[in-house]
């Protein structure tokens, strides 16, 4: 399997852009595999062959790297990867139930794709949003504080082709290929969308403001009366 000439020329030009970011070309292999996924929807045999040629590796060496990382898909991915966190904390808080309901609703299991190619379902590991458990990721955008009901509604909307907004992320979830292109280091202009911090991210900051708690003043800044009113925070442990 090979690419049409025009596609191959574009991929090689973009590969050169990626390689130019690094002192050593091979560092570009991971982003390049993301780029292959943006073209083919998975790490295709043609993509592996192209990477091997670009980096002077064997196809076995490229495959060895691709199969090490869970984000590289060995079969064509759906338009959306829906990942349900079933690591301990999310699982216990309700993630196991989210998984059961969504899996049953879609009729597919881990790393399987719906017949309409809309959704690939995954059990995922901790995605660093534990304060928002149970967490679901769609194309690696955060959907916080999920329940079985909300997750079923979410996947139904995705299958219906509706625009869906993550809790903390872009204005809408982009497709798997568009996402993969960003992960290859080509911005999509959406960095300014969405919020800076969710409510749980700032729960401590808000409490500190309510109580007037601030970090102690630096000696050089001791003229700042608001700051100097801070109580001592040193603990003699």
């Amino acid at each position: 399997m090979t690419y049409p000439a025009v596609v191959e020329a574009r991929l090689r030009a973009e590969a050169a852009e990626i390689i130019a970011r690094y002192p050593v070309a091979r560092s570009a292999l991971l982003p390049m595999l993301h780029l292959i996924q943006s073209e083919d929807g998975y790490v295709s045999p043609g993509g592996i062959a192209l990477c091997a040629d670009i980096f002077g590796l064997t196809t076995a060496e490229v495959s060895a790297v691709a199969t090490f990382y869970t984000q590289y898909k060995r079969h064509p991915n759906g338009r959306y990867t829906v990942g349900v966190c079933t690591n301990t904390l999310c699982a216990i808080m309700g993630g196991d139930a989210v998984w059961d309901r969504v899996s049953e609703h879609l009729g597919i299991g881990h790393d399987e794709t719906t017949a309409d190619a809309a959704i690939t379902l995954e059990r995922i590991e901790c995605n660093a949003a534990c304060d928002y458990a149970p967490v679901v990721m769609v194309n690696w955008e955060f959907f916080d504080d999920q329940s079985p009901e909300s997750a079923v509604e979410l996947v139904d909307r995705l299958r219906a082709g509706e625009a869906v907004a993550p809790t903390r992320g872009a204005a809408e979830v982009v497709g798997f290929r568009e996402m993969s292109r960003v992960l290859a280091g080509f911005p999509d202009g959406r960095a300014g969308e969405g919020i800076g911090a969710g409510p749980k991210t700032v729960v401590g900051l808000k409490l500190a403001r309510e109580r007037g708690w601030v970090a102690p003043a630096a000696a050089a800044r001791s003229t700042d009366s608001e700051v100097t009113s801070a109580p001592p925070t040193r603990k003699d442990a």
Partner: protein, 439 residues
């Protein structure tokens, strides 16, 4: 009473908090201006004097790590920021980068200036699309403003930052596995020595630091080492982000001096969820031995937590109440370690797989009389017998859970965990009845 000390989080609630404009409104890049007026060695001395210890879990003194770099030899040296936040329970760097990526970028610029690096890499886990967008934009903004690029603030110094997305592998949070991954290989740990300071990225001298460590550098330069060292405890100085999750009334991020206790933090967070009581918790992620209610008053600093038999880790405080089956929790963590073991070392690769099977039996109430001894014995043969800390982390939840809750493992010889602790009672969202083990 210890109070919160928002430093890194101080403007997270600002409108468009991630932009350069907002960062400027909050003294952004003033520390970099101060830094480039200092001798690089003076910056390293200040970070050493501050007592800042690595915020990625191990707690190694940051300034000392920088000091391990060999003298300049004319070749390149690198700063690599470990943004591969994947330890179960750990959720501090991600919100920091989403809300205030410029804090990290300014820290990178100061650090590169101090250690003589012209190029830095941020290795971000690939499963955080919007964080990646924000970091790429922050680098572009900082470069356009002259804080990065070929002539940083007119100093003639070049500092370029590349933000690199990983592709899903917990092991890449281990610094040498991260370096292999950044070189375009499978992320497998390297044998140390040589340490990265001597032979790191591309076999060149390399400093690898956690996001929160580097993001703390601007405040140290701006306010002074004494200011930083005045917070926390004498050996665990400064502030840190404490992440409360699980069965707590107000989970979230709480920035406080090291040495604060879980009792104090729980008071601020509204306590364990209403009508329930604390059963067990992790002080610093799943790789740190669990604690129980008897540890509520232990200072959350490196020394006090270690003395009590665990590790401060990443201050990832996962709270579990009395409805929770500790066997279920430990099994799921063990499945995680088995899944994420890179396979390089036999004790870790095979041992985690065995323990997963034994724990599945115990969860299902089909454990044998020998199973607890088998688990303890297997843990003994994994701990300290692999290249990296993933293996050590894998045994922590098992050995600590057996120490505190042995009777629950013994009950697994006859009664399923889901009968002892019906799983729907632990959920915080409506889930209906859960029929035993999921998956």
């Amino acid at each position: 009473m210890t109070t919160l000390t928002p430093v890194l989080s101080r403007f997270w609630d600002a409108k468009s908090s991630w932009t350069l404009d907002t960062y400027h409104d909050n003294d952004g890049y003033e520390a970099l201006r101060s830094a480039v007026a200092m001798a690089p060695s003076a910056i390293i001395d200040a970070v050493k004097a501050s007592g800042l210890r690595g915020r990625g879990g191990a707690g190694f003194p940051t300034g000392m790590k920088w000091g391990f770099l060999p003298p300049a030899d004319g070749g390149p040296r690198y700063l690599v920021v470990n943004a591969d936040e994947s330890e179960p329970g750990t959720c501090k760097d991600t919100p920091l980068m989403l809300a205030s990526p410029h804090l990290l970028i300014e820290g990178i610029a100061i650090t590169c200036y101090a250690i003589g690096a012209e190029r830095a890499f941020v290795y971000l886990r690939g499963e955080e699309l919007h964080v990646y967008r924000r970091l790429l934009q922050a680098v572009a903004e900082a470069r356009a403003a002259g804080y990065l690029g070929p002539d940083v603030l007119g100093t003639g110094r070049t500092i370029e930052v590349v933000v690199h997305a990983g592709a899903g592998a917990y092991i890449c949070g281990e610094e040498t596995a991260l370096l292999d991954s950044l070189e375009g290989r499978r992320g497998q740990p390297r044998l140390k020595p040589p340490f990265p300071a001597v032979a790191g990225l591309y076999a060149r001298p390399t400093v690898v630091n956690n996001v929160e460590s580097i993001a703390s550098v601007p405040s140290i330069i701006a306010n002074g080492a004494d200011w930083f060292a005045g917070m926390g405890t004498p050996k665990s100085t400064g502030y840190g982000i404490f992440s409360l999750s699980g069965h707590v009334t107000r989970p979230g991020q709480y920035e406080a001096p090291l040495g604060i206790t879980l009792r104090e933090l729980l008071d601020m967070a509204g306590g364990v969820r209403a009508g329930h009581e604390l059963k067990f918790w992790t002080p610093g992620g799943s790789s740190t031995p669990i604690f129980t209610a008897e540890h509520l008053d232990i200072g959350l600093d490196f020394e006090s937590v270690a003395t009590a038999g665990s590790l401060l880790g990443t201050r990832a405080l996962q709270i579990f109440d009395e409805t929770t089956s500790v066997v279920r929790a430990v099994l799921r963590w063990t499945e995680f370690y088995a899944h994420e073991s890179c396979g390089k070392c036999t004790p870790c690769r095979e041992g985690t797989y065995w323990m997963k099977q034994v724990l599945r039996r115990i969860e299902a109430g089909q454990g044998t009389a020998e199973d607890i001894d088998t688990l303890v014995d297997t843990c003994d043969n994994i701990l300290g017998r692999s290249f990296c800390a993933l293996a050590d982390g894998a045994v922590s939840p098992i050995t600590s859970a057996i120490r505190y809750f042995r009777e629950e493992f013994e009950a697994g010889m006859h009664t399923p965990a889901w009968d002892l602790f019906p799983y729907h009672r632990s959920a915080v969202v409506p889930v209906g009845e859960l029929a035993g083990a999921s998956a």
